[in-house]
């Protein structure tokens, strides 16, 4: 990665070249996953700790699978069964884990910026697996990989990002990732589910899904994040579904090549109809498969490739 070879904290730290480097490397690792024995010794002897302060199924399992396919050792940490429940601070927990000798920490935390703070405290590589509403860089990379596999070059492609933008770290990461790769992003959401600071975002905004659906190459649905909403942002979920949900009537208006994407877990019947989620151009399962290959690429680049040596050499020359 050109900008920071040690940590992956935000997709905004990566320029287009760095993103393309990761996506190209992902192809090599996707092939490893198809082998009869899908395991290579590239990270043998490296230890990676999972620091998950928030629930996760797919991200956690995806990182775990990626690490194991690279022959790394992994250390599990879950908040409920650890000293955190006895009141240990984040800093002390991190110091304890690092004292055991680890090479990488994969962090998910409810507070935006927690992975940045951790990266200031440790020598190990820090990978952000989602921090609050802020960032989820590996999700963006796997979405870009899935999209490129189907649509090729993303220059000029139109992406409709639909639903709960306000509470979504996926939205914040993906807006940057997709625009960095040349796509045009339109946010589609009720006023209450749009963030307040939209001025700096390189996007179009609309409240009317029907007005953009026929011209979209990707219809990216975000999960209604009921657990992050302290107040009611929409009158009822049924009304949200009627206005901003992807039902079969709307899905039939998408161009034939268009992709339906969702970061999961899906609320069927809220942002997406059950029948739409099972359409052939709904690529949620592929997103999950891409996730393993992308995370192998990221873990390898940060922990195994020795690319920081290159940078030092360039700097010395």
């Amino acid at each position: 990665m050109t900008n920071d070879t040690k940590h992956l904290l935000s997709i905004a730290d990566l320029d287009r070249d760095a993103i393309e480097q990761i996506l190209n490397l992902t192809e090599s690792f996707a092939e490893v996953g198809e082998r009869p024995i899908p395991k290579v010794p590239a990270l043998r002897g490296k230890t990676i700790a999972w620091l998950f302060y928030e629930d996760s199924t797919r991200t956690r399992l995806s990182f775990e699978t990626a690490a194991k396919r690279l022959s790394a050792d992994t250390m599990n940490f879950s908040v409920s069964s650890s000293s955190v429940s006895k009141g240990e601070s984040l800093r002390d927990t991190v110091a304890t884990i690092e004292a055991m000798g680890i090479d990488g920490v994969v962090v998910r935390h409810k507070d935006a910026g927690a992975p940045h703070r951790i990266s200031e405290w440790v020598d190990a590589s820090v990978i952000n697996a989602g921090d609050g509403w802020n960032q989820h860089p590996t999700q963006t990379l796997l979405d870009l990989h899935t999209a490129r596999t189907h649509l090729g070059d993303l220059d000029g492609r139109r992406v409709a990002l639909v639903g709960d933008i306000k509470h979504s770290r996926v939205a914040r990461s993906n807006v940057h990732g997709f625009t960095q790769m040349g796509a045009e992003v339109t946010l589609v959401a009720p006023r209450t589910l749009l963030p307040a600071d939209l001025d700096d975002w390189p996007v179009e905004v609309t409240h009317d899904l029907d007005s953009v659906i026929e011209e979209s190459d990707i219809c990216y649905l975000l999960r209604m994040q009921l657990e992050r909403q302290e107040q009611s942002y929409v009158p009822t979920l049924r009304e949200f579904h009627n206005e901003w949900g992807l039902d079969s009537r709307r899905a039939s208006k998408l161009p034939p090549h268009a992709l339906i994407m969702h970061p999961g877990p899906m609320n069927r019947g809220v942002e997406i109809d059950g029948s739409v989620a099972d359409l052939p151009n709904a690529v949620m399962a592929e997103q999950v498969t891409s996730g393993v290959a992308v995370r192998m690429a990221v873990l390898f680049l940060l922990l195994g490739s020795g690319l920081d040596l290159v940078d030092e050499k360039v700097a010395a020359a």
């Binding site: 092939e31 082998r35 009869p36 290579v40 010794p41 490739s305 020795g306 690319l307």
Partner: protein, 188 residues
């Protein structure tokens, strides 16, 4: 070629390859390829179980050309694949390592005779990595090694079965196999 071979030099060596002597012309390479094709067929009594695997990146074109030569001689199609063994190398942490291209093994290698094809054989470490990599695809009946140039300086007990040219070299020299032939030179 050659990136791999260039990278196998001392970790700190950087710079552009500078050719000094043309050691094989394009015709020499072509004749050597055809001789090697005959040798492969003779050794294996035909092309029945053969699979050619070109090592990324220097061996890929050579494997294609060997497959073509075997088709001309024998009239039979031999599966040709490619292999990137980067992930199985033993020098992680000693120098930057990046895969160059994806692997493509077109058939299950179990029970087949795999002929690994590379442009230059030097320390043997890339071949060692390739042997490891192949075993995550299946268990071949045999693995053989074909190289256009054997430049010596082996660091592992590995020996080629088919050789285009034996070329004694110094460690600080470089060998470049390309479409116009083979050059000997150094990094300038």
């Amino acid at each position: 070629m050659g990136k791999r071979e260039r990278r196998s030099a001392e970790p700190r060596a950087e710079g552009a390859f500078k050719a000094r002597t043309r050691v094989m012309s394009a015709e020499d390479v072509d004749r050597a390829l055809r001789r090697m094709a005959h040798e492969i067929l003779e050794r294996n009594s035909g092309s029945d179980q053969l699979v050619l695997i070109g090592m990324q990146t220097g061996g890929v074109d050579l494997a294609d050309q060997l497959g073509e030569a075997i088709r001309e001689i024998e009239g039979a199609e031999v599966p040709v694949g490619t292999l990137d063994a980067t992930m199985h190398r033993d020098d992680f942490g000693l120098r930057p390592v990046m895969p160059e291209a994806a692997t493509d093994i077109p058939v299950d290698p179990t029970g087949k005779v795999i002929v690994l094809v590379d442009d230059v054989l030097y320390t043997g470490r890339t071949v060692r990595a390739a042997l490891d990599a192949i075993h995550s695809y299946g268990r071949p009946a045999a693995v053989q090694l074909a190289v256009m140039v054997d430049r010596g300086h082996r660091e592992l007990p590995i020996r080629p079965d088919y050789i285009g040219k034996n070329l004694p070299t110094r460690r600080d020299e470089m060998v470049d196999v390309h479409s116009d032939g083979v050059d000997l030179g150094e990094l300038a």
